[in-house]
Symmetry: C2
């Protein structure tokens, strides 16, 4: 592993690896001679293809090791005074000693999370961003990168909102307006959207300077309310609760609305809740959130309907399209997101279905002036009247990930992305058919996008569940939960493939453990899916001779 052994330390001492000004300077000077250049290129080659060996493997731990054992190897908490290793050694260590214990999220057998393979050119693009090292907070440290970012923001805004050419010509390079903002990820995108919505709801008014300046308590008193709420289906992402906690709204004030049998927000229930809340003048609805791709089941709320309800009730309409947003590039499936153009704000993730490297989130706003509610200035940067992007932004210093997205859109075209999107959705459908064919499995949520859930539940047990009384149902489900947790864990630990698990409510509102698959790797195909299901059947057979077998304690 990368921590020095005694033997290594002895060798190092002999080699006398010491910090030295001249050597240090050289790491800042770009290489002048061919030999040094060749060395640097060789390192990149090692990185690209040394890791390649790792990336060709199956999902996990070919070198099996428990977390506990792994942890023991990383307990050196002293920063070494002198250099411990040369760059070449560090790279070799990362390739040989670290990578094998990382998770190969690029494997087509890794279908458990929204983290997947990325095209290899993304790594080249990220390298360019790092080499330029522009800081997007201000024009003085980014120049063309700021102008380019405004262009790519307009492109994605247009994908969502389809405003007129005149609209985009007016705003694309307008220094006073903002079509969106690059952020760290979906969480900070949702946070930014609710931040703006909150400030809009508690805007400055007679004798009140606004919630951003005076704070929540003063705002509630100025507006005569004692509670504000955000409404979202109970499948809303946990970042919405976190954002409400951070923003001072209180995370219990994210009101979870029931879902219908398709895991979409129940419109009647929403309408009823809005009506009830409106009867109490001391509660303010800050926003309704529609989901375009629930994290757990990949379902899309009826956005058109939600947009209409929000318009009628004058409520900020936010759409969390962190996962499903890029579906807009698919001619075949973009209809699923009809109504997203009514959203006041939209969350998108670059590192999900735009297939960008970690970390890149975005938030878009229908109204190009709405971000004026979150303006900040300083004297040394982002001065009043300046064109710095950092004036309206959750973050300060920030890398130029917009450059990656811009390049990727050029390399792929929307059609290229559509091929990936369509493949995922259609593969998920075939996957669902395969589950239905197999007697051991029960499909829980059929795919609307490219996510589906199912569980181990032999067909005779399924029949029992349909006919049984509630007490028996509960007992069976408890057993099934344990079985599914075990099957998922054993498969993950074996390291050939990975599906995730989560907890959903079944039609009787009972919580059940399910297996969850996200199909977003173009190399995943039905052959691989069948192998994954076969493996699960095999685990079940070996582990559970009959249904009421003992389950181990560690299956949590």
């Amino acid at each position: 592993m990368t921590n020095s052994t005694e033997e290594e330390k002895r060798i190092r001492k002999e080699q006398k690896l010491v910090a030295d000004w001249k050597a240090l300077m050289r790491t800042f000077v770009r290489p002048e001679n061919d030999a040094t250049r060749a060395t640097l290129v060789k390192y990149m080659e090692q990185i690209l293809f040394g890791l390649n060996e790792f990336l060709k493997r199956h999902v996990d731990i070919t070198k099996e090791i428990s977390l506990k054992e792994l942890s023991l190897r990383f307990k050196d908490t002293q920063i070494s005074e002198q250099p411990e290793k040369k760059l070449a050694e560090v790279i070799t260590d990362l390739i040989n000693d670290i990578a094998p214990y990382a998770v190969n999220v690029a494997s087509p057998y890794f279908i458990g999370h929204m983290t997947s393979a990325i095209p290899f050119f993304m790594v080249h693009l990220k390298t360019i961003v790092s080499a330029l090292n522009q800081n997007m907070v201000k024009l003085e440290t980014s120049k063309v990168a700021s102008v380019l970012e405004k262009q790519v923001l307009a492109k994605i805004h247009r994908l969502i909102y389809q405003e007129s050419e005149a609209f985009y010509q007016e705003h694309v390079q307008n220094v006073d307006t903002t079509l969106g903002s690059f952020v760290e990820g979906g969480t900070t995108a949702n946070l930014t959207a609710l931040w703006v919505a909150r400030n809009k709801a508690f805007a400055p008014t007679n004798g009140f300077k606004g919630i951003e300046i005076e704070g929540h308590y003063a705002a509630y008193r100025a507006y005569g309310v004692d509670r504000s709420v955000v409404l979202v289906s109970r499948l809303g992402h946990y970042s919405l609760r976190k954002a409400s906690g951070i923003l001072g709204i209180g995370n219990q004030n994210i009101i979870a609305i029931d879902v219908d049998k398709n895991n979409c927000i129940d419109i009647d229930c929403l309408n009823k809740t809005i009506k009830e809340i409106k009867q109490n003048s001391r509660t303010k609805i800050l926003a309704v959130v529609g989901i375009a791709g629930t994290t757990e089941t990949g379902n899309i709320d009826p956005l058109l309907k939600l947009g209409e309800i929000c318009a009628e009730n004058n409520i900020h309409f936010h759409v969390d399209a962190a996962f499903g947003g890029p579906t807009l590039m698919s001619e075949r499936y973009k209809y699923l997101l009809n109504g997203i153009e009514l959203a006041d704000s939209v969350t998108m993730d670059g590192h999900k279905q735009f297939y960008m490297p970690m970390t890149c989130g975005m938030v878009y706003f229908k109204d190009p002036t709405i971000m004026d509610a979150v303006i900040y200035h300083a004297n040394y940067v982002i001065r009043r009247g300046s064109v710095d992007i950092g004036i309206k932004s959750l973050s300060g210093s920030r890398e130029a990930n917009s450059m990656i997205l811009d390049s990727s859109l050029k390399i792929m075209g929307s059609k290229g992305y559509a091929l990936l999107i369509d493949h995922g959705i259609e593969l998920a459908r075939k996957f669902a058919e395969e589950i239905k064919k197999r007697e051991l499995f029960q499909l829980i949520t059929p795919p609307q996008l490219n996510i589906l859930t199912y569980r181990v539940c032999p067909v005779h047990i399924q029949n029992k569940l349909f006919s049984g009384d509630s007490n028996e149902t509960r007992l069976i489900n408890e057993n099934l939960d344990r079985i599914n947790r075990t099957v998922q864990r054993i498969q993950r630990e074996a390291g050939n493939s990975f599906v995730s698990r989560t907890v959903l409510k079944d039609m009787n509102n009972n919580e059940i453990v399910v297996l969850r698959c996200v199909l977003m790797n173009p190399l995943t195909n039905m052959k691989i899916i069948k192998e994954i299901l076969d493996e699960q059947e095999e685990i079940y057979k070996n582990r559970f001779e009959n249904f009421s077998d003992n389950i181990e304690k560690d299956d949590i």
Copy 2:
């Protein structure tokens, strides 16, 4: 430029660049044959050394272009349906058409901001992080990277707090405790620290579930307060105001404390303010913030004294060491940060004086359990009882930048970083001496770390300012402000070198425009500094024949 001209479009049409499943698949499959591998390496070579040409140049626009003109070239807001360009073209475009209009922050003549050159190995390390594409939110998508991150968090925690070996052995891999958190940058680090401080101040109590759950309004009622405040010197970073706005505290409740003649927080003034606030039981002090390296002047507050005051008054003590933190690695200058070990929380930036690529911030906590105040769970990840790092984190999905810092500490050693830190501080001192020697300039803030400010102010005017009445002083300063704005702008636009400017208060509490330099590039030396000053003298001479010359309108 990168947008297609008609001619390019015609050629493309002939080449029939179309999205195609097989070609797409290939970008996900790692290359199997030598030719493809060679191509990919060639691209990396182009990136490393094509950009190298750019990075060897002076600061800015060798190709002079106004922002307005540049903006006109980036107004294409349609995502192209079919691929517009091949990877090779995109890379060539970025190198030849984009980079020349970016800002060469790596130039030793770029001494205006905290964005500087980074060692070239940082680009290699970032490439590794992208190629592995681990997602730190959960162990299932990061495994060894999570374990490694905990180790590097412990290393920096130890640099700050110097707790015992036993303490670190207990916590380094403890899945229940947290020594710190990687965030996007200094802004989100400060936000995280104040989030934790806020939740600690309004913790659950009799019948109240805590501010995170119930929100600000309920919290204030439960605790019988109607205001909470954060105290920081008036040189505090603007992100503290932003954080207070976001957190619902209200940014007017960041109370700016006066500074002494050394730009450090005035302790008497702070004590007086605390005493006054404490007389009003309805105002709560959430935190006192000490600064270890003010953004504008690089000064360090008396941290030991602040720590004692906070302990006496039972107030959360946060230190914003985003810039100055790494000074702890310098045996020669670490004494400047004495008392930082008393801080309840500390902000550090990787992309500043750890010389990491954008974007990497960190926040550290003395108490390994204090982040329990910001725990979030979900069913599909970061479940209760899991060891996922994302349980206590502002962000969700996040890249493994900790891997870069870990590697860099091994390659540099603390001694290597110390060489950089010491060079910056000592160069700044020589710079200050040079300013004093020149009749045209007035040193405004002598460097404590590696930041100094000065202004164009001929020595006879300096004498006038010392003896003049307040009205005359004001008029002179207004003229000086315009001159300094002009000199800074012309120098920036000429593109050979870059210093920034900001506004500070002089000894009479008048706001004056000053030039600001940050010395953190090891290639910057006195020869370069003299050139930069010579250029400023030259601009002054050419532009302002005598002191009362007209100033152009655009000097804002």
